[in-house]
């Protein structure tokens, strides 16, 4: 009889959660993802390249037309430096959302991968953390590559900008968690249109390309509710080293979203698969 570790409660999370929800083995699910992606490495290349294309396009194109805009502290900054951190936030969002909706839906609905997992000591929260954690890791990889290029292009002017990478992870975490929770509601592949319908406007209007002040008043309020807006604001401020107390609010908003997503996902998985 081999010794199976971890069926006894250990760690805080294991003590406060109802038994059966979490076995402390989300890492095994991340291992699985690594194996399954070891053959599909091409998606990584495209994930890294896509935002870079945007960046280069802005550098060559828009950078000539619109030379300077008002930055987070009101000071003028080059337009490309204004857009770059926002693109970083958006790419963290895109990577996370697509991994956690398409990938999860397929495994959930057709491949029955999660049914197989739940027949072992693994619980729904392990699945949620493992899958979301994987999306965050991927988002992190893209963020590091993007950050490197920003550096090379001279778009990073403050040491605070080093925090862009952890913030990108937080953005990826929030979107992966919400995306996976949404994926459990999707019934057929055509409903992915709804995901697109949410992601594209968010990408365009979360002050990614223009400052909040250009939008009419009521729209400004709506935009401030968009999760990506908080990621963009956070990153833009950090990239030029303009810090202010509202940043704590942005972080809290994203963290709350992430926590809610993980909770909702594990509840949904338990409700749908363990019945």
């Amino acid at each position: 009889m081999p010794v199976t570790e971890g069926t006894r409660p250990r760690g805080l999370l294991l003590r406060i959660l109802p038994p059966g929800l979490y076995a402390g083995r989300a890492s095994a699910i991340i291992e699985r993802s690594m194996l399954s992606y070891s053959r599909g490495w091409l998606v990584f290349v495209s994930g890294v390249l896509e935002p870079l294309f945007y960046l280069v396009a802005f550098q060559i194109g828009f950078g000539r037309l619109v030379t300077e805009v008002a930055g987070p502290g009101g000071q003028p900054m080059p337009y490309v430096a204004f857009v770059a951190p926002a693109l970083l936030a958006a790419s963290a969002m895109n990577g996370a959302v697509f991994d956690s909706t398409f990938g999860v839906f397929f495994k959930f609905k057709y491949a029955k991968t999660y049914d197989a997992m739940l027949a072992t000591p693994i619980g729904p929260l392990d699945v949620a953390i493992g899958e979301i954690g994987w999306a965050v890791l991927r988002g992190g990889l893209y963020a590091v590559a993007f950050f490197g290029v920003m550096n090379v292009m001279g778009l990073v002017t403050s040491p605070w900008a080093l925090l862009l990478v952890p913030v990108a992870l937080l953005v990826a975490f929030a979107f992966a968690a919400i995306g996976m929770a949404c994926a459990t509601f999707i019934r057929s592949p055509t409903q992915f249109e709804f995901v697109q319908l949410a992601v594209v406007p968010m990408f365009l209007f979360s002050t990614t390309f223009f400052p909040l002040s250009v939008f009419p008043g009521p729209l400004q309020v709506v935009i401030q509710f968009l999760p990506l807006y908080h990621g963009v604001e956070l990153m833009r401020g950090l990239s030029v080293g303009v810090l202010d107390p509202t940043m704590a609010g942005h972080v809290a908003y994203l963290a709350a979203l992430a926590a809610f997503g993980v909770f909702a996902t594990s509840r949904r998985l338990a409700g749908l698969l363990l019945r």
Binding site: P2, E5, P19, R25, R32, L274
Partner: protein, 304 residues
């Protein structure tokens, strides 16, 4: 190992399992038989601690699945009715990753995967993806996967569906061996020969209830006669014979394609049938099997 009392499973207002009592002892092979929709899989899933019971009592390995699900599942092997292999992984990775879900060390799962691929005779396909495997190969891999944690209790939901005769016999042999090593087996099946070969004790389920319980030979003795006379007729002529043949045996089942006469002596029943002018196309005298018990208990073939 498993102790169920008045176990109930509801899906909405529909009762799939309606008060089932079973008691499975350590080291035995226990079977669930029953027609489609009888509630076998629903019962198995409750025992596997992946489906909360709606009512009744259930103890698996001495624990309550509602409270100790993960601890129970750590010691179970499960072969679900439908294969749910990981289509994004290779054969070897399927076994290794599954072992990791149980918290087994990498070195251990590596060794175990190699051993189990031998068991499932899939060694040559080790690095292949799962998707292009044949149905029977997938089934064998699913069965091998269920053994990755050296379970004490193995739940097999129609394990040999889709296997060729050779693979079935091989699996029976492996299951016998596991049993002799002390592993408890719970099997559902639609193959009566499988149940007769494999199970020490079994229950016949119908409509969510248990219709009978016992060892295969006990059930045959209790619900059937020593011998069975099977009579076949040309299409359309069977109906005319039913009225005449009724009194020839203790009991009669009318199947779409033949009549089954239950009697202690098939030969003498056949003689009496000829004496009454019954002229079948062909006749066969055989011993009663579990299939006869099944037909009787599930009322599948009563005169309509």
């Amino acid at each position: 190992m498993v102790e169920a009392k008045a176990l109930v499973k509801r899906f909405g207002d529909f009762e799939a399992v309606r008060g089932v009592d079973v008691h499975v002892r350590r080291g035995e092979a226990f079977g669930f038989l029953g027609p489609n929709g009888a509630g076998k899989s629903s019962t198995m899933r409750m025992i596997a601690a992946v489906s909360p019971r709606s009512d009744g009592e259930l103890k698996v390995l001495g624990m309550d699945p509602d409270r100790d699900g993960p601890r129970i599942r750590a010691r179970l092997g499960v072969v679900p009715q439908q294969d749910n292999l990981d289509s994004e992984l290779t054969v070897r990775q399927n076994l290794q990753v599954y072992g990791r879900y149980f918290g087994l060390s990498r070195a251990h799962v590596r060794r175990k995967a190699a051993e189990l691929m031998g068991f499932a005779q899939l060694g040559e396909r080790a690095e292949d993806e799962v998707e292009p495997l044949s149905g029977g190969m997938k089934r064998r891999l699913t069965i091998a996967r269920s053994l990755v944690n050296d379970p004490e209790l193995l739940l097999l939901d129609e394990p040999t569906t889709g296997l060729d005769p050779q693979a079935r016999h091989l699996l029976w042999d492996r299951l016998f061996r596991l049993k002799s090593e002390g592993v408890t087996l719970i099997v559902t099946t639609h193959y009566m020969d499988e149940a007769e070969q494999l199970c020490d004790r079994l229950v016949v389920m119908d409509g969510g209830r248990i219709a009978a319980e016992g060892s295969p030979s006990e059930l045959i003795a209790r619900f059937s006669t020593r011998e069975v006379l099977e009579l076949r007729f040309p299409p359309g002529e069977q109906d005319a014979v039913v009225a005449v043949a009724g009194g020839l045996a203790q009991r009669m089942e009318v199947l779409p394609d033949r009549l089954l006469l239950y009697t202690d002596s098939g030969e003498s029943a056949l003689e009496r049938a000829y004496a009454r002018g019954v002229r079948p196309l062909s006749s066969l005298v055989r011993r009663s099997t579990l299939e006869d018990v099944f037909l009787r208990l599930t009322g599948r073939s009563l005169v309509e």
